[in-house]
Subunit: 309 residues, 2 copies
Amino acid sequence: MESTWNEAHLLGILSKVGPIGSGKGLEFLEIGVGDDAAVVVLQENRYSLCADLIAEKVHFDMEYFTPRDVGYKAIAVNISDLAAMGATPLFATVTISAPKDTNVAEIQSGITSACEEYGIVAVGGDLSDGASIVVSVSVVGGHFGRNPMLRSNLAAGDTIFVTGSLGGSAAGLRELKGSSGKASLSTRAKRHLHPLARIKEGIMLAEMKVMAAMDVSDGLAIDLWRMADASNCGFAVDNIPIQDGATLEDAISGGEDFELIFATNRPAEVVDAFKATGQREPIQIGIVRKDLEDREILGKRAHPLGYLH
Amino acid sequence: MESTWNEAHLLGILSKVGPIGSGKGLEFLEIGVGDDAAVVVLQENRYSLCADLIAEKVHFDMEYFTPRDVGYKAIAVNISDLAAMGATPLFATVTISAPKDTNVAEIQSGITSACEEYGIVAVGGDLSDGASIVVSVSVVGGHFGRNPMLRSNLAAGDTIFVTGSLGGSAAGLRELKGSSGKASLSTRAKRHLHPLARIKEGIMLAEMKVMAAMDVSDGLAIDLWRMADASNCGFAVDNIPIQDGATLEDAISGGEDFELIFATNRPAEVVDAFKATGQREPIQIGIVRKDLEDREILGKRAHPLGYLH
């Protein structure tokens, strides 16, 4: 449905800078914002498609999120899924449903900021009135000859890594809920409001033919559990890197850190490659076990506990 | 964000039948529902991308929509945009935000029905709690060598057509608002609840190298106005086909008929081709004028009035 001043308003905002973003997708964009659809000219290739929404009072609260944070986060959580696949961000579409007094221009500003940061091009969307703020984003990523990394590719004996320490977002959320103002946001609070999608890391891992990855969106315990289910195997985690200021529980079952979990049978090679390119070094956390039932975290039986929205 | 029992629930519903839909997109689908993203293998080609949402109390009211109608309509309005471009439906992603007591399985059932009808494949999505029902859909269509039809391609002297009579959806909405039950829905009411996207017509027009098209989503007057703006021209409409039971005003400024407006300099050829294939015959409504200011409907100066959500 191509409807109303509302969509015209969103398209107007998008059009101010042409299609939003200055990423690789621009090379393939033939018709941008303003028609019934955008038209892109794609080469023969694998592409990843996914969509996620963030909803007020479920994924965020306007008590401590600015409209700009909302827009940024809606893009970032989708980019994180592309990172987990090892795909290069190309195109996004954005739909916003929000009460009429919402500062949509500020949501759009956050969307623009994230599009620029991750090199994705927003090519269209829709905007309507609504009972509360819901921002839904769909993204297209390109694999450009790299194999997609799958949840189902864990293999017994693989070393499991995460790309960074965990628990920061959950600890940050707790701080935000307890704070009366936003004068001095901690790194953790910023991490919650302004998550970082590990797109460089994802592409580098796919280039190195790492086959299994997933982003930590609901928490290490539940997300690794899902990978093990998809791969029909178990795991033993013996090391959990905890972000400063977070608790072990935050790191095990807090969500939205958006670091990547991945597994490889060439651990030294992968670590060396990250070092050689000056990237943060991935952190070894455990090993893939053969038996489906054999699932341990720090010596105890694992449970699929996570941050449930 | 890949989160919660909610998304698991949606994916569970989607997975029951594999990816939803049995369309052409299946040929290109490598990894379906269940990973961080779906993976498709595309050939070199033009593709159309777009996204539209429908929101409760804005685009529909649960007083007269069933959850199944909501799911169907969310897909159909997006397919209509692909029809207007002349693209073949390939892939959809769907996000649903809804109160926890919503019958999501029924929404999903409507989505499935529309995906089957239009030959599109739903490859992923997200589901979360929310204050009211918002269904956002993004779609990918393939042009397969055909040129995309654009709003900006009207040329002076072209004959303007619509693919069918107008006003039915607006009249149907009025009936639904005034009715106490759904025992005997008129064709018009069904048209509002269960819109038909003109995908066959769109593809056929693009195959015939018709260059200018748009779907009637907000009403003939406003949508033709937009085409004229995009094409830097005027128009004179001297014939408006009115659906049985609708008024002239419904047909001029009622929205959501989802018939296609198109223009061509080979009107007889196009009409003959529709006849020859047993399609409904398109209806000639007017002509494209050169002067931007020269915009008439039934002899009066036109105004961009439409159905505003």
